[in-house]
Symmetry: C2
Subunit: 506 residues, 2 copies
Amino acid sequence: MTADLSTEQARERIRAAYDPTLLRQAGHVLVEALADHLATVQQGQGPVLPWHVPEDLVREAGEVRDQIPPNGNRAALVDRFRRLLATMLERGLNLHHPHYIGHQVPPPVPIAGWFDAVGSVTNQCMAIYDMGPWATAVEQSMVRRLGEQIGWQVGEFSGLVTHGGSLANFTALLTARNVSLPDAWERGVMTDGRMPVLVVHSDAHYCVARSAGMLGLGTGSVLRVGLDSQRRMDPNRLDELLGDLRKRNQPIVATVACACATPIGAFDPLQTIADICRRHDVWLHVDAAHGGCACLSARHRHLLTGIECADSIVWDAHKMLFVPALCALVLYRNAAHRFEAFRQDAPYLFDPSAPGMAEYDSGMRTVECTKRAAAFGLWGIWSMFGPQLLADMVDVTFEMGRALYEKLLAASDFQALHEPQCNIVVFRHVPAGMTGTSPEHLGRFQLELRRRLIQSGDFYIVSTNVDRIGALRVTIINPLTTTRDLDQLLDALRAEANRMLAEGLA
Amino acid sequence: MTADLSTEQARERIRAAYDPTLLRQAGHVLVEALADHLATVQQGQGPVLPWHVPEDLVREAGEVRDQIPPNGNRAALVDRFRRLLATMLERGLNLHHPHYIGHQVPPPVPIAGWFDAVGSVTNQCMAIYDMGPWATAVEQSMVRRLGEQIGWQVGEFSGLVTHGGSLANFTALLTARNVSLPDAWERGVMTDGRMPVLVVHSDAHYCVARSAGMLGLGTGSVLRVGLDSQRRMDPNRLDELLGDLRKRNQPIVATVACACATPIGAFDPLQTIADICRRHDVWLHVDAAHGGCACLSARHRHLLTGIECADSIVWDAHKMLFVPALCALVLYRNAAHRFEAFRQDAPYLFDPSAPGMAEYDSGMRTVECTKRAAAFGLWGIWSMFGPQLLADMVDVTFEMGRALYEKLLAASDFQALHEPQCNIVVFRHVPAGMTGTSPEHLGRFQLELRRRLIQSGDFYIVSTNVDRIGALRVTIINPLTTTRDLDQLLDALRAEANRMLAEGLA
């Protein structure tokens, strides 16, 4: 039968693709290429960002993809793999370069990637326990360990791992919504004309307002609490606002505080805020995606005083715990809230013949049904190096934030816009020729300066707006970055600015 | 200064963790261990699931983690890595075992895991283009390629990759909500008393009703359309329902059809449904998480006739395109809808000085801000083996679904509950001694039989309920599974059932 013949040919092609020897040979190629690449990049060789126009790269990705080797034998496949790999490494951003000090995304501890690879190759998914028993165990053990670090007792709190801080904040706020509006899950957020509100730090990450939009509250229901001079949430204004809302019987979903807020890395006074929320009986959510790491550092623990009073906390391991994206933790102080985000069953998933298993079925708590073994990297580096390494990386990068600040203060052509509380530093470069320039003009100059700098490949930094005026923003999230690199940053900015001035671009 | 000394010690520990030679040595250990493991598992040696009580594994994961080598030199670290790896492989589910035919999660083409590993080690994130230029290019090239496969023209449609089918369905339905209720994003879903509804296939995945809960519509707003005898959405009933809703001016967020629905893998008559939705001016969303793959198979393409008329489609590459979790595509027929899910800006992310870049900033379209390079695996295996391999795997696994069905029909002690349309097969085992048993009793017996079978390690299958009565469910999603394995499955079920009968458990 021709069907049988074509099936046998298909099976042969499948066996060739699943061939363990192909995995082995390609794997050794991968290891050599990645280790070589990393050695080069960490020494600061080559560009940080190999800049290309996006549409050119999209076209190239399609063209490369379609050059499929005809009837490739194993040697041809390994060779193809080698070339694909070279393209990937040539075209990517080099986060391990000491001049990468950009977004709140770290160069991960490299070996964390090998732990992730175990999950990828063997596909240890979750949703239900027995699809990823060890992945589940690792996730729960890390949730417990980090919850203890917050200051909680195992058994009293609960948590989960999800794909990123935005999804984590959304999940926590979904829980807060369902707890504060008990009918919302089934009946929707329609209330009798009084729209529930979300009270947030003015500088909260954009995903918080997005969450309001997604949750059906509307972004218009987000009430922003004014900030103090260090861009921290002002507790007095929070107290006043909550009191006012309670007086008007306005339903309040939650207060969202930050540890730290994205723009300049400001840590809120959590203890005071927690006391206020408790007094007004309002759910306190703390977005500690970046700053949760301070829990692990004796030197910086004080920044989080009071965090243990929060009802929910988000903490991204793929930020300052230096694992590859994505591994974000949602923690609930009260374990009774662990199933509040969703209130459903799926008979083919959650087996009523084994009801206790739901405690270990991650899909009961996460937006994801099938989920990657997202905690393998975190568990792996903790198991290899212990919490000391994580504390080291927090201390060193925070210290570099302070070092950059001092360099900015000492330089007449730079303006530091705040005293850093962690490793985020926002500033402007004001070349001698631009001291009389309007703020708007100076702001546009920063954005253009940053774009030229990153496209040169010399440094990767970020821009932002402070009070609607453009500024430069650095997160020293590469623990390999030293003060020498920071000196070079100021010099590189000066040189680029000079070129712009010479070209009449300023 | 003591601060300097402690910083220098910290930096030394950091350099040891980032040592490229450690990555290299551990990497070669990883490759050998994974290739050996895969070779063993693919030959069907060892258990599919090494069953352990969850709490025991959680404890073990914590204990293993905390045995951190004191002052480990590189050799000690590599040795530690080797032992951690052994534990991970011993404790995980073996999806590459030919007896793994469980959930809609495949044993991935192994080398896809190496492409993923490039993303993990070098952390090619997105949100904005220049944080992962190649990751962005690869994702966009795959979105375009798969959209073309749907039957669309590049330039007219749009799409994104997100972390899983649940998040993908949520994202598409968020877009549908925002388009059908233009005020919802800012003002919330409060309407003047008429709750917007979501019209869905009765067997839609649980994430669809969850999406209604999350989006503020409420799960009560989900209206389920009745099914025909093959558990496909009944177009006549859909037409009637939509007509009725329109007559009453009820806002309709979307119709959700399935290709295929989870329980028995039924493919909806998409062309008819699309015509009805167009006539009533209702957004049509097709959850093709599992069945989108049929686009790639000449033999099974017909199952998706009409899918090109959908407004949005979800298609999971981590299901039937055989890449590691998670890589789910959301596709919009009309590119004008690409920014409808979210309507926001974040100045430090989306640079107004380069507005065209937003087209390539994935964070504008996804719930995730920072995002993994989730399409590396898909691009990688496509580049290595071409679409032929994917078509092969669809054809072979669908054929195995049919083969199992025929074996069930031929066996007097098995009841097939439907004629399979793909690789999902639902059935019951009815041993000779149980033919007179009540349906409820027989259903409970299936659940218990399944649990004992998977805990024995011999096979991994799933249970479900059909019309509230327990049944066995198999997804032949392992392309290495053969008819011989299916014969062994029936024998294993018989043997386990006999043991249960002998123990008086039936």
